[in-house]
Symmetry: D2
Subunit: 180 residues, 4 copies
Amino acid sequence: MNIVTIVGSIRKESYNMQLAKTMQERYEGKFNIKIADIRSLPHYDQDEENNPPQAVKEFKEAIANADGVFIITPEYNWSIPGVLKNALDWASRVDKVFIGKPVMTFGATMGTLGTLRAQLHLREILLGLQAKILPPAGTEILISSAHQKFDEQTGKLMDEGTLNFLDSTVEKFIDFVKSV
Amino acid sequence: MNIVTIVGSIRKESYNMQLAKTMQERYEGKFNIKIADIRSLPHYDQDEENNPPQAVKEFKEAIANADGVFIITPEYNWSIPGVLKNALDWASRVDKVFIGKPVMTFGATMGTLGTLRAQLHLREILLGLQAKILPPAGTEILISSAHQKFDEQTGKLMDEGTLNFLDSTVEKFIDFVKSV
Amino acid sequence: MNIVTIVGSIRKESYNMQLAKTMQERYEGKFNIKIADIRSLPHYDQDEENNPPQAVKEFKEAIANADGVFIITPEYNWSIPGVLKNALDWASRVDKVFIGKPVMTFGATMGTLGTLRAQLHLREILLGLQAKILPPAGTEILISSAHQKFDEQTGKLMDEGTLNFLDSTVEKFIDFVKSV
Amino acid sequence: MNIVTIVGSIRKESYNMQLAKTMQERYEGKFNIKIADIRSLPHYDQDEENNPPQAVKEFKEAIANADGVFIITPEYNWSIPGVLKNALDWASRVDKVFIGKPVMTFGATMGTLGTLRAQLHLREILLGLQAKILPPAGTEILISSAHQKFDEQTGKLMDEGTLNFLDSTVEKFIDFVKSV
């Protein structure tokens, strides 16, 4: 199964990027996971949408060709980061590559609320994009107290309970992709 | 009264930019309105927030020095544009220039719902930023059918009903700025 | 196809009840539509959920036996009416009759925004209930200026454009029910 | 300072009712707190709003006469309980007793997310009601793992960290009431 992962934070030590890398390694038998480079996308400009820069073309092609998309994001100011929304804005136009695309969302934060507000906004946005969202009740990956769950040296997610929940939810996503 | 206006769209013929310009001209006796350049801000990166590029410094300084902020934005994919969220993400960090800042929001769209979904997300984001938001009940500037209300030649907002409502709501914002 | 319709307003001349009745008549060849009596449900009380009053039992049974549910609701105070939420609260407990149930939502209002805020809240609630919601992009039934679209004498929805959109969206719902 | 407290749950052993009682006792030198009886309010019906039952009259009068309102609520199905929304629906009509009224919100739950979704809906509803909401950033009372923080025998909130945060936030509310 070919998966494109979009990470909402572009800082180097991002827990969300670490989660993306943990999943890439942990599920390599299940998925071929490619992490998208959203930093290289310029600000979305409607005047350029029909003839966008190469980075935009490649980003959209990767999504168009994927069997599913993982969006792994921190919460910035009670919503998703601008850089993530910008990537979704490009993807929403002209060939509209999210229509019918299976999507699963994740978030990690040092706080206690696990990016819930960001996920709520993200889900509304994805409904607008006509993506197929994994039904959220019982499958929300909201990682709180991230600094206690990721290994400081290797960066990898180490918390057993979280990994178990992740494993079982990823299985649900596989079933979901096959069913839609 | 010094106002910074942030426009959520960066395309050339944006109705929201036209609204910003209409207001700049119409209220020049009341406000000194400066339109911020958010296109020149790079993607927010936490690793750079303590020593950001010059464009970020200038953007934040302009807000810090303003008596109030107008945010005029289209709706993209049932939320605010990434480029606007990105500007707010920079402004939210280190010196946090939106804390206590009076803000009024506006939106124009060719559709019928007047950017309502974008405004709902924007308001939650602004609460997270600790801005002082003009109480929305009765003051929401949601311009629908924009193509019928702006002049095709001059680009200016021409619809009388909308202009009257804008005038009276702007007066409420002036009172609000004085009261907080 | 057996449909239960839940109407969010209990006043006599409710436009939303009129919409329910219009649909009952207009689609009688397609659906057997039963309008639920939510007024007779007491306030939800967790202490009584295992042995609820007869009205609650009948309401839940009707939903359990339906092929799909229509929720037709006004907007009260930027959300759904309490009486509607109360009905959903009962339905969410013990036998949880909304799990996997196909649902389509509608709203009519005299204002311009067509109950959009109520629908946004309702959709989050339905996700929490694990209902199967008709994907909203392009299928939102948001009837604005209701007083101009319903006949004052008969109460029926008369606006041709709205009826056409309703017809085509109802067909999408039929396909949706068959596919889930 | 006269405070009306509205509790969103009507079950007997509700943690939210226990929080209301804890506050009534703990802050008796600061506030005269009256807990409203929302169970006795019938379902809101627009046809009766001009001549409502006695229970509705008393509920609205209590709010009209209060210096501020506490709303303490569980989360039901990712939103506020119907019985709470119903009380707010009555209060929103005819004499509209929430206009300009200072309000602080609280929530307790056995889960980890502390009623955050309910609070987000509640805040939008209160903006629609034109209440004066204590600015939420840094003042959100979201009590998670309630079963570990309330005493099983006495029912009282016992968790020191939560009580300290409650104390300091209540002081902010007192300042807020005086300032609006």
